[in-house]
């Protein structure tokens, strides 16, 4: 006899208890702390802060722990928390030219003012799994970071002096677009696109950025500069009227230089693609810069031929919290809609079978009629 699927409440509570047990894993092993995650899984923490749109390493680490290492789940936790925070105002624009550099490389110049600084990078490691990848002991201390006193102007500034690169267009207004306060409207201007890309799923951007390199909307990029380090954040409260430094946060910035043929309106110039991310997040900053440039096709008078250039396609699908929600909601019950489809399908089949003079029972496997 029919037993209704009841007891949702008890089932949910039991599922949460099971989840807590799975999260803890083998109780004989020590539990990891959020501090350990923050200090030792920093790149995961950075990604969660970036895509969670909230700079808070402690909370991000806590979220990663709570999410059992599922970064999209952790991003979601951070976003939901962020949504409850009051908005006091906007900080002053950060000056990345004055960044206290920990890493700075240019792929376009062998040497340049400020120099090339490799910093903490995987780039030249051999990917051999190390049984004990702990940091070297006190016997082999990591080199002290040179206190890079030399000014390191942006590479694009050097090009700019010669007029070889397009000028950075001033924004159309002082008001910064904010897709967390206003619904997305298409076409989206560059500030809004950059915000969406900064929050976007790294994997999605990576695939799309890669596609531009393989010919789907080519942009001929050069990594003019990637820099990572700390910048000062300051805020001007309305009632005071002057800037107050709030502290320093690490950022990764990527400036791509892309080819451009010029037009009747403008002489040939390089064009720009820009990426910026919290913490050390190079892949994210680079793919963001590729996508920023690809999405500028219209302003630069190029034809739209590829998915990466299509802002409604890219921006509407790049948010992993939205995407995972809608994909995973297929787990929710759809009995009612499925029933409606069943009824319709049975009717269509019955009519088809009659029209084709086929024995109904032979094909419809004898079931209750609708």
């Amino acid at each position: 006899m029919y037993v209704a699927v009841k007891g949702g409440e008890a089932a949910i509570a039991a599922a949460h208890a099971l989840l807590a047990r799975e999260r803890r894993g083998d109780p004989k092993l020590p539990e990891i702390s959020a501090d350990q995650i923050r200090e030792q899984l920093t790149l995961a923490v950075n990604r969660v802060m970036c895509e969670g749109s909230l700079y808070d390493p402690d909370l991000a680490a806590q979220a990663i722990k709570q999410a059992r290492g599922d970064l999209i789940e952790a991003i979601f936790l951070l976003r939901a928390y962020r949504g409850t925070l009051p908005r006091l105002g906007y900080t002053e624009p950060v000056e990345t030219g004055a960044m206290r550099l920990r890493r700075r490389i240019s792929a376009t110049y062998k040497d340049l003012p400020g120099g090339q600084v490799l910093g903490p990078t995987f780039d030249y490691t051999h990917r051999l799994i190390d049984a004990d990848p702990t940091t070297p002991g006190p016997a082999a201390p990591a080199p002290a970071l040179a206190a890079a006193p030399e000014a390191a102007p942006h590479v694009t500034q050097l090009l700019d002096r010669e007029g070889l690169i397009e000028a950075n267009a001033a924004g159309e207004s002082d008001v910064v677009a904010d897709l967390t306060r206003n619904p997305m409207q298409y076409p989206a201007a560059r500030d809004l696109r950059l915000q969406a890309l900064a929050r976007a799923d790294e994997g999605f951007l990576l695939g799309l950025g890669y596609s531009t390199q393989r010919g789907y909307g080519r942009t001929h990029p050069f990594a003019a500069e990637i820099r990572m380090g700390e910048v000062e954040i300051s805020f001007t409260p309305e009632e005071l009227g002057f800037e107050i430094p709030l502290g320093r946060i690490p950022l990764t910035e990527c400036e791509m230089v892309n080819q451009f043929q010029g037009s009747a309106m403008a002489p040939p110039q390089f064009t720009r693609g820009y990426g910026l991310a919290f913490g050390h997040a190079e892949r994210k900053a680079m793919t963001m810069a590729l996508l920023d440039r690809a999405l500028r096709h219209e302003e630069l008078g190029q034809e739209r031929t590829a998915p990466a250039q299509d802002q409604e396609f890219v921006l509407a699908h790049c948010d992993n919290v939205q995407a995972t929600g809608f994909v995973e909601h297929l787990k929710l019950p759809h009995y009612v809609d499925f029933q409606a489809e069943l009824v319709l399908l049975r009717q269509l089949r019955r009519e088809w079978l009659v029209a084709h003079g086929t024995d109904e029972r032979a094909a419809s496997s004898g079931e209750a009629e609708q």
Partner: protein, 287 residues
Amino acid sequence: MTACASYNFAYLDEQSKRTIRRAILKAIAIPGYQVPFPSREMPMPYGWGTGGVQVTASILGPDDILKVIDQGADDTTNAVSIRQFFARTTGIRTTTSTQKATIIQTRHRIPEAPLAERQIIVYQVPIPEPLRFLEPRESETRQMHALEDYGLMHVKLYEDIARHGHIATAYAYPVMVEARYVMDPSPTPKFDNPKMHLSPALQLFGAGREQRIYALPPYTRVVSLDFEDHPFARTRFDAPCALCGALDAYLDEVVVDDAGGRMFVCSDTDYCAGRRARAAGPPGAAT
């Protein structure tokens, strides 16, 4: 989420609620028009009803009595979860009774019992744009609505008839609102479409991920799209509900064994339980 004390009544801060209420008011003023609103990340995933939850959170007052259903049932897991969320963040009363509720949040169904003027029904909407699967671009579909350019939709329905002999849409069946806007009724089965027409209750639709709110004020004309020679037909069930005998209700098909056996029962659990209680006799303690 044990520290609920630090959250505002119904979770959202008052500023966000006001923003959403402005969108709701605009939606009521232009029935069937999709109003963009700045959707907030909610503590449940997109696709779980964040749009409906935000609408409900923005209109709930301390005296409201909330009912939440999913697939017509009060006891499906997501309905339980959303009801618990509001019970915990507001402390208001909840109910499973359609009649007693002042606000009903729903996914995929409209209750069988007729709604009344003092009630608000809030629909959870996944894809608010009825033209989306005909034209994926938002910039295009907004223009089509602005120009009342619904030719594409009629062609689609016509092609269905040419191919299948029927309009092959069984749920999320598009409707025309006040002879102006084509609207998606949310993925309710088309069986429920006639209930929207001239409903005395206020009907609000929230799509969180897609950042849209739309509305049907009480007594709005809502007509399912059709053709003169192929009029809209409500889904009919030949068998009555196996539990309460209802002939007029939407039924879930339940597979009862592995030999093709199945039974049909009301999808609206409150309606079904109420009918059985009345049939059982007068000792009814409740009304």
